[in-house]
């Protein structure tokens, strides 16, 4: 058995043991107060979950027994059956055997469960029959359940009873511990501070760096262990999509099947949480806008059932989630038309932009190509929310689409939120960090190679045009870049960090490049929060606070001001 499977088994067992304990607790509550409908609901839910989990893991025995209990509580819930004290005895026994079955997953052995299962089934059936009889007396009376049980089954019951007497009172412990995420967040923060402190001590240079090699190793091992604890397989989220796809498809009257791939890929739990709404939105969109109605699919020679695929894969410290549909694709021409109608683009711009850039417009707030609004999608809200969620965790999105063949959204996400690989640089005696995930390259350019175009600066590097920004001009929103450039010596060579974001290249002119560094980013807190240019801060080895640039925040602002300039 692979370690992955073992891990899943452990998770199942932990949940199952918890379920068992909860079942016991609820049964006791219910026994004292048979009217307590809340407990019945909870019991039904728990047995249902347990059945589902067990089926998923292939533990048929547990699933079968849980299924009978589920039926029973289902009937009680609907008021068809009232559990008698006699029945309670059997239900308790069933719960105990359930526990043994769960335990048997860990310590394989044979547990007899068919007897109690059949007994419960018969009890349920006769209880249902009794009830219908009391309602409608013309139905022939069903005899008591004891009569209905074949003699050999009674034997089995007897055997079952004898078998489990000695094991019933054994308490089971899981070797998994459940921890609130809050505690993990705290732990990660502390490790972050430890790493910062380590860097500070090393930077102070009291001893040679080799003196600290052990400290270095232990603290980074600790850091990665804590990060590892926070990783969860994506199928925790992906599995919830079976239902979402089903509901969305039936609402839209479309036939859609869901495929999951790469579900064992691991990602930080908090990132999964941040993007979960976005994923739901993208999947609903794929069904609402992407997949065609069955008739339309037949006409274009596609299988009647559309397919939505959720695929996760990892690439060093990045996780890519792809949402693919084999629907109609996104028609760039339609978006272009729509953008002009809505006044987002001028006609001239629209014809100049590449299809790729045009398609990215669907992430603009208030943009929607669907003419009618459906309950699922098409209200023109959402896609910009998807983008904002991605921006907030330093992720990016790109789309591949072919009209008539389908669309794929690729989400590139950091696998861990805690550590960011960054490039440090200096500007006006202050140190800034820029995430490496956005950094394209670092170049130096002579001042004479920088050209002024319509109040902005550009340079050409390897055939590509890069617009240049002085960050401090942007931050202060006053001086013009031209005036700032004038201050440099005519023969000066300028250091430029080139970043790319959604396919655009922008260069930041910096005073001095420092080093690459893995940093632990912390969010800005009130009242210093709400700064779109800065995603967070970190503490440097010298104790000073270093701002981490938010490339999406900066470039969105830059693009907007450019838009404004053009429209003015």
């Amino acid at each position: 058995m692979s370690t992955k499977e073992e891990e899943y088994r452990d998770i199942f067992l932990t949940e199952a043991i918890e379920n068992f304990n909860e079942i016991n607790r609820l049964l006791i509550v219910l026994e004292k107060n048979p009217e307590d409908i809340k407990s019945v609901h909870a019991l039904f839910r728990i047995t249902h979950t347990l059945k589902g989990n067990a089926t998923g893991m292939g533990f048929e025995h547990i699933a079968e027994l849980a299924h009978v209990l589920e039926d029973l509580f289902g009937a009680v819930r609907e008021g068809k059956v009232i559990i008698s004290s006699e029945m309670f005895v059997s239900v308790y026994k069933a719960a105990d055997i359930l526990n043994e079955l769960i335990d048997a997953v860990k310590n394989p052995r044979e547990v007899k469960y068919r007897g109690i299962k059949t007994k419960l089934e018969v009890m349920l059936r006769s209880a249902l029959a009794e009830r219908s009889q009391s309602i409608d007396e013309t139905v022939p009376a069903a005899s008591g359940y004891e009569n209905a049980i074949a003699p050999e089954l009674l034997d089995m019951l007897q055997n079952d009873d004898e078998d489990h007497i000695d094991t019933a009172t054994k308490l089971s412990f899981s070797h998994l511990v459940q921890v609130p995420v809050q505690k993990l967040d705290n732990l990660l923060n502390l490790v972050g501070e430890l790493v910062i402190e380590r860097d500070r001590i090393i930077a102070s240079g009291m001893h040679s760096a080799s003196e600290y090699s052990r400290l270095n190793r232990i603290s980074s091992d600790l850091q990665y262990s804590v990060m590892d604890v926070r990783l969860v397989p994506v199928d925790f989220l992906f599995n919830k999509f079976h239902r979402i796809v089903r509901d969305a498809a039936s609402k839209e009257e479309k036939n859609v099947s869901l495929k999951l791939k790469g579900t064992e890929t691991e990602i930080d739990r908090n990132i999964l949480q941040v993007i979960s709404d976005s994923l739901i939105h993208l999947v609903r969109n794929a069904i609402g806008h992407g997949i065609e109605k069955p008739e339309a699919r037949k006409q274009s020679g596609k299988p009647e059932y559309g397919t939505v695929t959720l695929e996760a894969s990892s690439e060093s410290d990045i996780v890519i989630i792809a949402i693919q549909d084999d629907g109609g694709g996104i028609d760039a021409a339609r978006i272009r038309k729509r953008a002009v109608e809505k006044g987002i683009l001028t006609l001239a711009d629209a014809s100049q932009w590449s299809d790729r850039d045009i398609i990215m417009l669907i992430f603009e707030p208030g943009f929607s190509t669907m003419d009618e609004v459906t309950s699922l999608a098409g209200r023109g809200v959402g896609m910009d929310v998807v983008k904002r969620a991605l921006d907030s965790i330093g992720g990016t999105v790109h789309i591949e689409t072919k009209v008539g063949e389908g669309t794929t959204f690729f989400l590139r996400l950091p696998s861990s939120m805690a550590v960011k690989a960054t490039l440090l640089f200096e500007l006006d005696n202050e140190t800034f960090a820029i995430p490496l995930s956005y950094t394209e390259r670092v170049i130096s350019v002579y001042k004479s190679d920088i050209h002024t175009v319509a109040n902005g600066l550009i340079t050409v590097y390897q055939g590509r045009t890069i617009s240049l920004i002085f960050l401090n001009d942007l931050f202060r929103q006053e001086r013009s870049s031209m005036a700032t450039l004038e201050r440099f010596h005519p023969e000066a060579k300028l250091e430029i960090v080139v970043v790319s974001f959604n396919g655009r290249l922008v260069g930041f002119i910096v005073d001095k490049l420092l080093q690459q560094k893995e940093i632990i980013e912390k969010p800005l807190q009130k009242p210093a929060d709400g700064v779109s240019f800065i995603s967070g801060v970190t503490i440097l080895g010298n104790g000073k606070v270093c701002l981490v640039l938010s490339i999406p925040g900066i470039l969105n602002t830059v693009n907007h001001t450019q838009h404004n300039k053009i429209s003015l």
Binding site: I196, E430, F475, K522, Q525, A528, I539, K544, V545
Partner: protein, 173 residues
């Protein structure tokens, strides 16, 4: 006013005076004070990293014992700065730590603490004011020749935030 006086009388009658501790510091030419409960500690001002997109009274952020907090210049906020000299020795920082806000208030001199009778805080109504810029003033304490202005630091900020929201709304219109 009448209520206050009555409360004072009542207190005097019961001979039970409640004292509050305040931390007094100088802003411009006046003495200001905060309730000691709002202040966690006083530290020597560490180096401050400027933060863009913030009003000028938020000087930036600084690292105080591993916490990254915003640094506030109240002289600038209240318009009390007489000289243009930027860092005219904001040597000390009052560290304020609440569930919602973590921040430092810059002051020039070592602040001192005073114990005053709660009843000696006088409510004031400023004449000729539109009423916006005074809600954070809790009252005035008169001690012999001194006049100390009590402020509620959280009100100062909530006011700033309301303005931010307002700005955003008007920007959208």
């Amino acid at each position: 006013m009448y209520n206050n006086m009555r409360q004072e009388e009542e207190r005097n009658q019961t001979n039970h005076v409640r004292y509050v501790q305040i931390v007094v510091f100088r802003l411009g030419d006046e003495e200001y004070a905060l309730n000691i409960d709002q202040i966690k500690e006083v530290v020597i001002t560490p180096s401050i990293t400027r933060v863009p997109q913030k009003p000028s009274f938020i000087k930036g952020v600084a690292n105080i014992r591993g916490n990254i907090i915003a640094m506030l210049d109240l002289e600038e906020k209240f318009g009390l700065r007489k000289t243009i000299d930027e860092h005219a020795g904001n040597n000390f920082t009052l560290v304020i730590d609440s569930a919602e806000y973590k921040m430092g208030v810059l002051v020039k001199e070592v602040p001192n603490t005073l114990s005053i009778a709660e009843s000696s805080i006088e409510e004031i109504t400023l004449a000729g004011d539109s009423g916006i810029e005074q809600s954070y003033i809790k009252g005035i304490v008169k001690l012999e020749k001194r006049l100390i202005i009590m402020i509620d630091i959280f009100k100062v900020l909530s006011q700033y935030e309301e303005q931010q929201v307002f700005k955003k709304q008007t920007a959208l219109v």
